[in-house]
């Protein structure tokens, strides 16, 4: 095999690989991007709730305290923001954005008791 033939084979193989790569299904580029989550507290039923705005769009609407039975509202704006921020942190870290009773108590949120 001559040197020229080797070069041709090499270039041909590289072209085929390149084309193959271009043909792979494009993985969504924003898959592993860190989302931007903001907390927007609002007044509801004599207390407070929060929205989580994800990448500029409302995503979670929490007019009741999450993670516990019953329709309770946060007694203060601060409490709503505190729990909302915890949810936003979870979203930014790609964790499950659910809140449990234990987590509420750990944050000294007892508005539902």
């Amino acid at each position: 095999m001559t040197k020229r033939n080797k070069i041709i084979i090499g270039v041909g193989a590289a072209l085929i690989c390149l084309i193959g790569l271009c043909w792979l299904p494009g993985k969504e580029s924003d898959d592993n991007r860190q989302p931007v989550a903001q907390v927007a507290p609002f007044e509801v039923d004599g207390g407070w709730g929060y929205k989580i705005i994800l990448d500029g769009q409302p995503f979670i609407y929490q007019n009741i305290i999450p993670g516990v039975p019953g329709k309770h509202v946060f007694k203060t704006r601060e409490n709503a923001v505190k729990v909302g921020q915890r949810v936003a942190e979870k979203i930014v870290h790609n964790e499950m954005p659910s809140i449990s009773r234990e987590e509420l108590l750990a944050m000294h949120i007892t508005d539902f008791q």
Partner: protein, 332 residues
């Protein structure tokens, strides 16, 4: 140079082999990704029910743990609310249905045991109450549907594949064995409700996909056999039927039923529409999300959605809405 000519031919041949989409058939229907997309609620084999303008989705398996959190999706607001967690043990492969203004979740698998417990969710109180245990054997991979004032749990896997059907009466909090599905023991089947009838198809047993297709009439409380979902008849109508599989998502809108994705040996993106008027299936635009199994389908206010599911151990959280009569647009 004659070698170069050879390589050029080889290159062209490989290009031709790669260009697959230009000759494929296009089908009617458009999938629209709901924004924002977020992977945090990702899970498979969740359970769900629909009350009013909200779909309630919860439990399931995230690849490490079985879950008990529950979320309400408001289709008008396109927003989720974290509601009271499921009151029973965390589980996957449970089933859910709505009866009147309340939701019900039962059966499933907690990672060790097959389950037969059964719970009611009251959205007005945002509270769960344990109800009478499911009347059949503990199981997972069943189907459930609500028809008028009753709920039903049928088929599933209890160590063996089942074909039985149980009716729950919320007025008396009791289970009665209803007429069993005619044949076709299975798990991970798909069910959708049109009018006062529940259609049950797909599913697997003994490593074989089940092709029998039945409808349960909530008025006569009896099953009838429909045309098989495989190419088994001498007529031509079923020549293209190639969608037998399991773990597909399902919903019904506009008086038609839809079967989406699932596994057919390998994962499939295929979507098929069932018309109960003539007992015929039509292929629609492929699911635009990644092909998956264990996804959740639901219909709210005559709009159809597919959420969650898993592929190659990667649980999904994305949500897509299907417009069956729209032209396909890949950019929405």
């Amino acid at each position: 140079m004659r070698y170069l000519k050879g390589y050029c031919l080889l290159l062209m041949a490989s290009l031709a082999a790669c260009s697959k989409s230009s000759t494929s058939t296009t089908y009617l229907g458009n999938w629209v990704k709901k924004r924002p997309q977020y992977r945090g609620v990702a899970r498979s084999n969740a359970a769900s029910f629909v009350i009013g303008n909200k779909a309630y989705v919860g439990t399931g398996y995230d690849g490490n743990d079985r879950l008990k959190d529950f979320w309400a999706y408001d289709v008008d607001q396109n927003m989720w609310t974290n509601v009271a967690p499921f009151d029973g043990p965390a589980r996957s492969g449970a089933v859910g249905m709505a009866i009147g203004t309340k939701g019900y979740i039962g059966t499933g698998y907690d990672g060790i045991n097959k389950l037969n417990d059964f719970y009611e969710y009251n959205p007005d109180a945002n509270a769960w109450t344990r109800k009478a245990d499911f009347g059949g054997t503990p199981r997972y991979g069943a189907v459930a549907f609500g028809l008028k004032d009753f709920g039903y749990i049928a088929t599933g896997y209890d160590g063996n594949w089942q074909v039985d059907n149980w009716e729950y009466n919320p007025a008396t909090n009791s289970w009665t064995q209803a007429q069993a599905m005619i044949s076709g023991k299975r798990q991970d089947a798909s069910a959708f409700v049109i009018g006062n009838k529940a259609y049950v198809c797909m599913g697997t047993a003994n490593s074989t996909f089940i092709t029998d297709f039945y409808v349960f009439d909530g008025d006569t409380k009896s099953w009838a056999t429909l045309n098989s979902i495989d190419n088994v008849s001498d007529s031509s109508f079923d020549d293209s039927y190639n969608f037998k599989g399991s773990g597909a998502a399902s919903f019904a809108i506009g008086g038609k039923g839809y079967i989406v994705s699932g596994t057919k040996g390998s994962l499939s993106s295929a979507v098929w529409e069932y018309n109960p008027q003539n007992d015929r299936w039509t292929q629609k635009t492929d699911f635009e999300g990644a092909a998956r199994t264990g996804a959740t389908g639901f219909n709210v206010k005559d709009r159809g959605f597919v959420v969650l599911g898993v592929s190659n151990n990667q649980p999904f959280d994305d949500m897509l809405e299907f417009y069956p009569n729209a032209e396909y647009n890949k950019n929405d």
